[in-house]
Point group: C2
Chain length 188, copies 2
């Protein structure tokens, strides 16, 4: 088949495991490529044959650790949206802020990293967009503004608080965002 010496398939897993431990201990900043390679029992050059940069390694690591959000849309778009936004807020605030910020910085520097990072959040944001569109069709959202904008106004403030103002992301805050975008619930 392929010509030369095959890649040692066990190495990638060992590197990711070593990187996970490093990330857990010292965050993005404290993760040292040299230590990851040493911990995995591998030369640093071997690591760089798999990922082109520290950022790409970390993105691959996060992608490998990530579990899907189990989300089943119900007949209650308002409740669904609340669940989603609260879940996203919880996920963000349980992740070290500096990690999110460093990924954003790496994304800004390297478009390829940016693509990978956006793919990490894509499922969550896609789910929110779908539910918002559904709510709008059902007449629950009165606004005629494009769903993408409403999503930005639900999710954007979470990142804004996290990365810019440093304020906490509480479930209450997420629910307040919801209220503000959807308007008060009509009593039936």
């Amino acid at each position: 088949m392929t010509r030369g010496r095959p890649r040692d398939t066990a190495i990638e897993g060992r590197l990711l495991a070593a990187a996970a431990e490093e990330l857990r201990r010292g965050g993005y900043e404290g993760l040292s490529i040299d230590r990851v390679a040493e911990r995995a029992g591998v030369a640093k050059t071997t690591l760089y044959r798999r990922w082109a940069s520290k950022a790409e390694l970390v993105v691959a690591l996060i992608a490998s650790m990530r579990e899907e959000i189990p989300f089943e849309p119900s007949d209650d778009p308002r409740g669904d949206l609340t669940t989603l936004v609260v879940t996203i807020a919880a996920g963000l605030s349980s992740t070290p802020t500096s990690l999110i910020a460093d990924l954003a910085a790496a994304s800004a520097r390297d478009p390829r990293v940016g693509e990978s990072v956006r793919a990490l959040w894509a499922d969550r944001h896609g789910a929110v967009t779908a539910v918002v569109a559904k709510a709008q069709q059902a007449g629950i959202v009165l606004s005629h503004v494009a769903p993408a904008v409403l999503v930005d106004q639900l999710v954007g403030p979470l990142y804004y608080r996290l990365l810019v103002t440093g304020e906490p992301l509480t479930p209450d805050y997420a629910r307040t965002l919801m209220l503000s975008v959807l308007g008060p619930e009509e009593s039936p």
Copy 2:
């Protein structure tokens, strides 16, 4: 008065000027402390006696370059808000994205840097908050949501697009955000 050899007051200005040139050429990442010191004709240690890190140097530089937003609130809160949000969006998108992202990352790592960075945006965000509160008092905004949340939903999406989704910040987008938060204008 003070006992020892006095600081050379000219050095700080030369360092900031050198840093500005470096930042202009290569952005945050391309700004090298060694080169800044060399360009200013000063030892690197002298630079570190003034700012504790590259991040603090850059924050001080931006603070020194920053001009106030000339903003005079009129009797038209809706127009004022539009102006403010469009201006903020323009300012953000005219700044290199990586600079904003790197400042956010530095803020997450070092709380002192975070304080300084937040102070950079404070005037803009304060102005927005003031106008939003005024609009709410005037009954222009129907929502009873706290002004701070509305501000987050006006400004947060800008940072969100810039740092996370990578979408452009057009004046139209800013106006759409406004529309979504304030609701459609009532015809008089």
